[in-house]
């Protein structure tokens, strides 16, 4: 009786497993693998699906990509954007998470909520509000600090202005992740370090930081991947300008595919970004993960 019941249960589990796996495989195939294969093939074609153009041009899109000045500008901007925003996200996130987790701080839930609020606010809405705040004539930032800077139209300040908005929007996510990381560190370690006479900095440096490494890897890798795909803030705030000062590589893909309808060329750039992302991710794993 018992055996029969187990067998039935096992059979239903197998059916459920097969259904779930089939669904996931189908989902991945339809929304990931097939589009990637189509895009890869498209990167070797002069491709405009809107008027049915699909003509083999070999490596022309890739050659054109490396010769296109905007491509190199956008790659440079993307690297700067990623390094600065990820660094600030990690430092701010870790700093604030550490501060909130301190025994001295009360109302932890309040701070958690406040810091997480920008993360759950729609990006387009945030970008529009910041765009108004950056206005040189009636914007909050210039008026508050008595400045006279046309933030979004200055080649010096436009990219930092977009980065500042992105940092503000996203640091809360890192705070929450680091807080959960801090909570998962057993108290015994801190007790032991206290007995050994470690000061606050030493405790942070030799206990907290190494034990937070998995969280750090998660934050850095997920941030890198998402910022290499960032284009919404640019589209809303600067449209890549002034000139090409704030062109990010993903915005270039968007511009080529959905504004100029050069889908083949856009696919070539997208593939380059894919490889670039993979390399950066591996490097990050190497650099941060080695010691863990």
């Amino acid at each position: 009786m018992f055996k029969k019941k187990r067998a039935l249960q096992s059979k239903s589990e197998i059916v459920l497993r097969n259904m779930v796996v089939t669904f996931l495989v189908a989902y991945m195939a339809i929304f990931m693998v097939i589009p990637i294969v189509i895009a890869f093939a498209g990167s070797f074609h002069n491709w405009n699906p809107l008027n049915g153009t699909y003509k083999w041009i070999g490596l022309d899109n890739y050659i054109r990509m490396f010769q296109y000045p905007t491509f190199w500008v956008s790659m440079g901007n993307t690297v700067i954007f990623c390094i600065v925003v990820v660094a600030f996200r990690v430092v701010l996130g870790l700093g604030l998470a550490y501060a909130i987790s301190s025994r001295m701080v009360k109302s932890k839930t309040f701070f958690r909520t406040i810091f997480y609020m920008p993360t759950v606010t729609p990006l387009v809405a945030v970008a529009y509000v910041w765009k108004i705040m950056y206005n040189p004539q009636f914007g909050l930032i210039d008026n508050l600090f008595g400045l006279n800077i046309n933030w979004l139209y200055s080649s010096k300040f436009a990219l930092p202005a977009v980065m500042a908005m992105t940092i503000w929007k996203d640091f809360g996510y890192a705070v929450i992740l680091f807080m959960s990381g801090l909570l998962s560190i057993p108290g015994d370690y801190y007790e032991a370090s206290g007995i050994d006479g470690a000061n606050a900095w030493q405790t942070f440096r030799y206990i907290t930081l190494p034990l937070l490494r998995p969280t750090m890897i998660l934050v850095v890798i997920t941030s890198l991947i998402s910022y290499l795909q960032a284009y919404v803030p640019v589209m809303v705030m600067t449209k890549g300008g002034p000139g090409t000062s704030t062109f990010l590589s993903s915005y270039l893909v968007y511009d080529q595919a959905f504004v100029k309808y050069n889908f083949g060329y856009a696919s070539a750039i997208a593939f380059f970004i894919l490889i670039f992302t993979a390399v950066l991710t591996l490097l990050s794993f190497k650099l941060i993960g080695e010691k863990s």
Binding site: L50, R64, N150, G243, T244, S245, K260, N262
Partner: protein, 459 residues
């Protein structure tokens, strides 16, 4: 038990799905049957004529879908008037927002019969649409006699769409600021030299800080630059009409003049009112260079600002061209629509083109100079300041052709690089030219500049 029920339901769903896949769709249209060919109405039009006294599709019901991106009531009124004459024809207006329209429309047209039968066209997207369009079943010569820009839309002896009106740039000025500066109608400048003096008078600075810009072209760099360089006689494309030529003397002089407005004359600033339309509406800028749709923008957003319009000043008394223009187009016809729909669509287009009154309403709405010669002297249209400003020299405005977006986009980027990033004019224009050249090499674009009556005088 429930498994059996579920199994039966699934089997039935599959059968339904399979039967849906296998069935051939037949065109069935709802609506009235028209049995009266004699409508008792007069023939409309001059050369392109429309005789309403006939049956469309033998009076049997037929439905058309007409895709727009704007003014559904106005375009809908044309459809309604047509439906009154031919009650068996039903035209469904489908209004999509501009954003996404040019992605949705070609994809819908790829579906053949299932796509819209009629769709509004913007000439900058001609390269996406032409493969799906049927030529008008109207004599090309008749079209050219009635519509002065029709010739520029001829492709291999056929016409797929034409302009019902044309739009161009003009200077809009704030009348209160004009009067406060002691200026009168007599001071309206004809040349850029005079314009610069007027702009200086309209500029107000306090303690070295700009309070009121005499002239603001922020956000209009690419349009104003094209206007002035045409005045100098520099065309945007070479004689083949396929390669951009935006590094000529005229273009460089045009950009230098624009920079001088701000740097030498200090009548404006790149950082003062970065959106010149808003700045004018908010009463910060006395003069702006804008295209005809600005009239509608002001009436909608800033109705209390009193403003006038005058023709764009010129570099000398006899410029190569005053400015470029662009047309607002008549609808395209889906060549893959059913034969019944195609017959009705062709008939509707003839009605549309012969109906000067409806074209007048459209021109009024968009502040367009009418392309229909019958409306050239129309008093109501000439009361519109944007139309009035360009009416005197309208034949001296040039159309570069259905320019793909890459030209405007890259000139805009070049403008920002020159104005905000301090890059050199020559190098920046050269970069833009190279990029446009590469982008155009993948398209079948040929400029219409050579059709301009003074083309032989270009430099």
């Amino acid at each position: 038990m429930w498994r059996k029920v579920l199994g039966i339901c699934l089997a039935m769903s599959m059968m339904l799905l399979l039967s849906a896949c296998g069935s051939e769709e037949t065109a069935t249209y709802k609506g009235e049957i028209d049995t009266n060919p004699d409508k008792g109405l007069e023939v409309m039009g001059e050369h392109v004529t429309y005789d309403p006294n006939h049956l469309v599709n033998d009076g049997k019901p037929v439905e058309l879908e007409w895709w727009l991106w704007d003014a559904p009531d106005l375009f809908g009124s044309i459809a309604e008037e047509y439906e009154k004459i031919h009650p068996n024809v039903t035209i469904h207006i489908v209004n999509n927002p501009w954003d996404g329209f040019w992605t949705k429309l070609p994809l819908a047209l790829q579906k053949g019969k299932k796509g819209p039968t009629l769709f509004n066209v913007h000439n900058s997207y001609q390269h996406l649409l032409l493969t799906y369009m049927a030529p008008y079943d109207i004599d090309v010569k008749d079209l050219e006699q009635d519509f002065f820009t029709a010739k520029s839309h001829e492709i291999d002896g056929k016409i797929y769409y034409i302009d019902f009106g044309i739009m161009t740039g003009a200077i809009y000025y704030n009348k209160d600021m004009w009067a406060a500066a002691g200026l009168t109608e007599e001071d309206i400048p004809k040349t850029w030299e005079d314009f610069r003096e007027v702009a200086k008078k309209l500029t107000i600075q306090e303690n070295g800080k700009l309070i009121q810009a005499g002239f603001n072209y922020n956000g209009e760099f690419e349009n104003l630059m094209q206007s002035i360089s045409y005045q100098y006689g520099s065309t945007l494309f070479d004689e083949s009409g396929t390669k951009p030529t935006i590094t000529q003397e005229g273009q460089i002089k045009a950009v230098q003049m624009m920079l001088d407005f701000y740097d030498k004359d200090q009548v404006g600033d790149k950082d003062f009112g970065t959106d010149s339309a808003q700045s004018f509406g908010q009463g910060q800028s006395a003069m702006v260079y804008k295209w005809g749709h600005f009239y509608g923008y002001m009436n909608t957003n800033y109705p209390s600002i009193p403003y006038g319009t005058f023709e764009v000043p010129v570099v000398d008394e006899d410029p190569f061209a005053y400015d470029r223009y662009n047309g607002e187009s008549t609808p395209g016809i889906n060549k893959n629509a059913s034969p019944e729909q195609l017959e009705a669509a062709q008939d509707f287009i003839r009605f549309y083109l012969a109906n000067a009154e409806k074209q007048k309403s459209l021109c009024m709405n968009y502040s367009l100079f009418p392309a229909n010669n019958a409306l050239r002297e129309d008093e109501d249209l000439l009361k519109n300041p944007a139309i009035q400003a360009v009416s005197e020299h309208i034949s001296d405005y040039i159309w570069p052709g259905p320019m793909p977006a890459t030209l405007g986009d890259n000139l805009k980027i070049a403008g920002q690089d020159i104005m905000y990033n301090g890059k050199s004019i020559e190098k920046t224009l050269k970069t833009a030219e190279d990029i446009i050249k590469v982008d155009l090499s993948n398209m079948d674009f040929v400029s219409s500049e050579s059709l301009y009556h003074k083309y032989s005088q270009h430099k």
